[in-house]
């Protein structure tokens, strides 16, 4: 095992491409938790001349962010780009391996399901857009090929296709239900409709201009993505952000969690057509958005985070107004949830629906509120503390049931913690500057940035090239980790409960597809 100092404190274990399963098993046995696998094209680097595949794990709980992660890295030779798949021992790696097959042409030998993922079947075979020799804007013609997917056969088994364009105002995804009567035997989701090529787009840009792209990974977790990106950039450059900025980042991150969680407390009710809940929830969310705008000038807090700290500072008066707004909203959130959960219809539909077992959650690497509602005590804010979180008091609520009701209730438990965190920040906000200038970024290095977004853990990987510009940027959002769990949770439920189960996970598509 050799520690590679060039890589910003991330412990690196080198492995041969065909020894990967063994190396990965070692880390798993040491208690490592899988985050993601990231492929890079480093064929043009004289000291590498190959593709590199890195599997990232969170290995130390309670450690500071930079020493908490371990990478298992393998050089995949350019002339024969293949390696031994780890999916059979680590199901959570299935998508990451399929993705690097789609985008880089790296073949995971032994992968149980190597269908196209990110680029749909109409993309020509053998064309790999994230390789360095593929120009950003080159388009491909549509290939005539049909989508293949696992099917259930038998008398009385029918198929129900839904999407990608849905009836409501939601993002696009295609779902194939195989049903017997009303019960779902199998759900095959087809995602990545909103794959925009964002990761390729930022390659070659200065690290300093990448931040707005990070915010566009997802419009409603934009703060969390911005902080992930900024953390990676700051750990590359070795800059520590001012203490006031680290409190202010907590403030905006918790405001983001709040508007999302409160919105969900309403929106999940829409899954059963319970109009009071969804209407009252949306009105409360709107008030939180307005409070965001009053504080930072943007309803979704975009543009508030900067590299090296914060782009905006706040005045005493703004903080007072925020406090007043929140103390008006908080009791209303409690009222809303009280009214909702005491309703018989809600109890009837929410309880024991869409159960995600702790074992499934663990195997699939589920994160965020969905994991915590299924009994997995994970929270980056506590486990790998960043910003001012280790100086603030909060609890990480965990429940055991893993059904829709648990995920609903989880939002309230977490919103309470967010209200309390915000209040602590308001009371103890240190004085001082909010931004530390960053002079330059090291060349040919990489760093990661991990944060807890409203939907769970967001992982960003940022590597620089020989000129210190962005060589590779990769985002694994919480949604990406959680999608496979939705298909599992739906199994055995009835079709009309799908919208409800789906909403209880509240996964976006854009940050999954990028």
């Amino acid at each position: 095992m050799n520690a590679d100092k060039g890589f910003r404190g991330i412990r690196t274990v080198e492995s041969e491409p065909y020894q990967l399963p063994g190396a990965v098993t070692d880390i798993l046995l040491q208690g490592g938790r899988f985050l993601n696998a990231v492929a890079t094209d480093e064929r043009h680097r004289k000291d590498v001349v190959a593709f590199v595949l890195r599997y990232f794990f969170a290995t130390e709980c309670g450690a500071t962010a930079s020493s908490a992660y371990t990478a298992v890295s393998a050089r995949i030779p350019a002339e024969r780009p293949s390696y031994a798949s780890v999916t059979s021992i680590l199901p959570a790696a299935a998508w990451a391996e399929r993705e690097s097959h789609d985008l880089f042409g790296l073949v995971p030998v032994g992968h149980p399901d190597l269908r196209p993922l990110v680029l749909h079947e109409h993309w020509p075979q053998g064309v790999y857009p994230l390789r360095k020799d593929y120009p950003l804007e080159r388009r491909q013609t549509y290939v005539d090929a049909s989508w293949t997917y696992p099917k259930v056969d038998g008398e009385g088994v029918f198929e129900v296709p839904v999407g990608p364009i849905h009836a409501g105002i939601i993002e696009p995804g295609h779902f194939r239900f195989q049903v017997m009567g009303d019960s779902v035997l199998h759900l095959e989701p087809k995602l990545f409709y909103t794959h925009r090529g964002l990761e390729k787009r930022v390659e070659g840009l200065d690290v300093s201009s990448g931040l707005p792209f990070a915010e566009q990974v997802c419009g409603v977790c934009s703060v969390s993505h911005a902080i992930s990106y900024a953390t990676a950039a700051e750990s590359l450059s070795g800059v520590t952000i001012p203490i006031r900025a680290s409190y202010l980042r907590v403030l905006v991150a918790e405001l983001e969690r709040l508007y999302n969680h409160v919105g969900d407390l309403g929106n999940i009710c829409a899954g059963i057509g319970y109009a009071y809940g969804s209407t009252a929830g949306s009105a409360l969310k709107e008030q939180l958005l307005r409070a965001n705008a009053a504080l930072t000038g943007h309803r979704y807090l975009k543009g508030s985070v900067a590299l090296g700290g914060m782009a905006v500072d706040v005045t005493e008066r703004q903080l007072l107004e925020l406090e007043r707004a929140l103390s008006r909203i908080e009791p209303r959130v409690e009222d809303l949830v009280q009214a909702v959960v005491t309703d018989d219809v809600v109890q009837n539909r929410f309880r024991k629906t869409g159960v995600l077992s702790v074992q499934n959650a663990l195997n699939l690497g589920v994160v965020g509120p969905a994991a915590r509602a299924s009994g997995l005590p994970l929270d980056v804010r506590r486990d790998q503390p960043y910003l001012a979180y280790d100086a603030l008091q909060f609890e990480v609520p965990v429940q055991a049931e893993g059904d829709v009701f648990a995920r609903y209730w989880q939002r309230l438990l977490e919103a309470r913690q967010s209200f309390s965190l915000i209040r602590q920040v308001l009371n103890r906000l240190p004085e001082g500057p909010v931004k530390e200038p960053i002079e330059d970024y090291p060349k040919e290095s990489y760093a990661v940035g991990v944060t807890e977004s409203p939907r769970g853990e967001n992982f960003h990987f940022l590597a620089t090239d020989e000129a210190g510009r962005i060589a590779r940027y990769h985002v694994r959002s919480a949604t990406y980790a959680n999608w496979p769990a939705v298909a599992k949770a739906v199994q055995g439920n009835i079709v009309p409960d799908f919208p409800l189960i789906n909403k209880s996970f509240e996964l976006c598509y854009a940050c999954c597809d990028r």
């Binding site: 680029l119 749909h120 109409h122 993309w123 857009p129 593929y134 950003l136 804007e137 080159r138 388009r139 491909q140 549509y142 990608p164 364009i165 009836a167 409501g168 105002i169 939601i170 993002e171 696009p172 990545f192 409709y193 909103t194 794959h195 925009r196 090529g197 964002l198 390729k200 787009r201 707005p212 792209f213 566009q216 990974v217 997802c218 419009g219 409603v220 934009s222 209407t279 949306s282 009105a283 969310k285 709107e286 008030q287 958005l289 309803r299 979704y300 975009k302 008006r328 976006c508 598509y509 854009a510 940050c511």
Partner: protein, 171 residues
């Protein structure tokens, strides 16, 4: 009509701009669409930000339905398409089919920087970079994301334009 609700949610009064918009919309949609304009939202590859703002139009603070506007489930019922996102490769076919299924006059409001010209991401191997690369756009609504009121304003403007076209056709 919104008075009591606004009071309950502690939101102050309707602004002058709100009232002006309301008047414009009533005038235009009354004449042309019998005071019932049906809107179909199409996500052509957005980041979910624009969706949240379009969705906000239905909350009790904006309550778009009070103007006779509503979101509908099928493009076949729609007078106006509200498109967010810059048309990704994986969605192109679905977006084209939605447009084809929409009856005339196929008003199209492009919402957000992405729908305008692809925004910061622009054209890539997987993204067209702008709705107008495929279809004629009636109104562009800039912003990232545009506020709910901006989106509403965009739709009102589209209806007013439709009316201009309509009267030109008649003369």
């Amino acid at each position: 009509m919104l008075g009591p609700l606004r009071k309950r949610w502690n939101l102050g009064h309707l602004t002058e701009a709100d009232e002006h918009l309301e008047r414009r919309l009533k005038a235009a949609s009354c004449r042309l669409f019998g005071r019932s304009l049906h809107v179909r939202h199409v996500d052509s590859g957005s980041c979910n930000g624009c969706e949240f703002e379009a969705m906000a139009l239905l909350n009790p603070l904006y309550d778009m339905q009070r103007f006779g506007l509503d979101f509908v489930a099928s493009p076949r019922h729609a007078d106006l398409l509200l498109v967010t996102g810059g048309v990704t490769r994986n969605l192109e076919q679905a977006v084209v089919r939605t447009f084809e299924a929409t009856p005339l006059p196929k008003l199209l409001v492009a919402v957000g920087a992405c729908a305008l010209d692809g925004g910061m991401i622009g054209p890539t191997y997987a993204n067209r970079g702008g709705v107008d690369k495929l279809f004629p756009v009636t109104v562009y609504v800039p912003g990232c994301p545009p506020s709910p009121m901006d989106i509403l304003d965009g739709m009102v403007t589209a209806v007013e334009r439709a009316e201009e076209w309509d009267s030109q056709k008649r003369t």
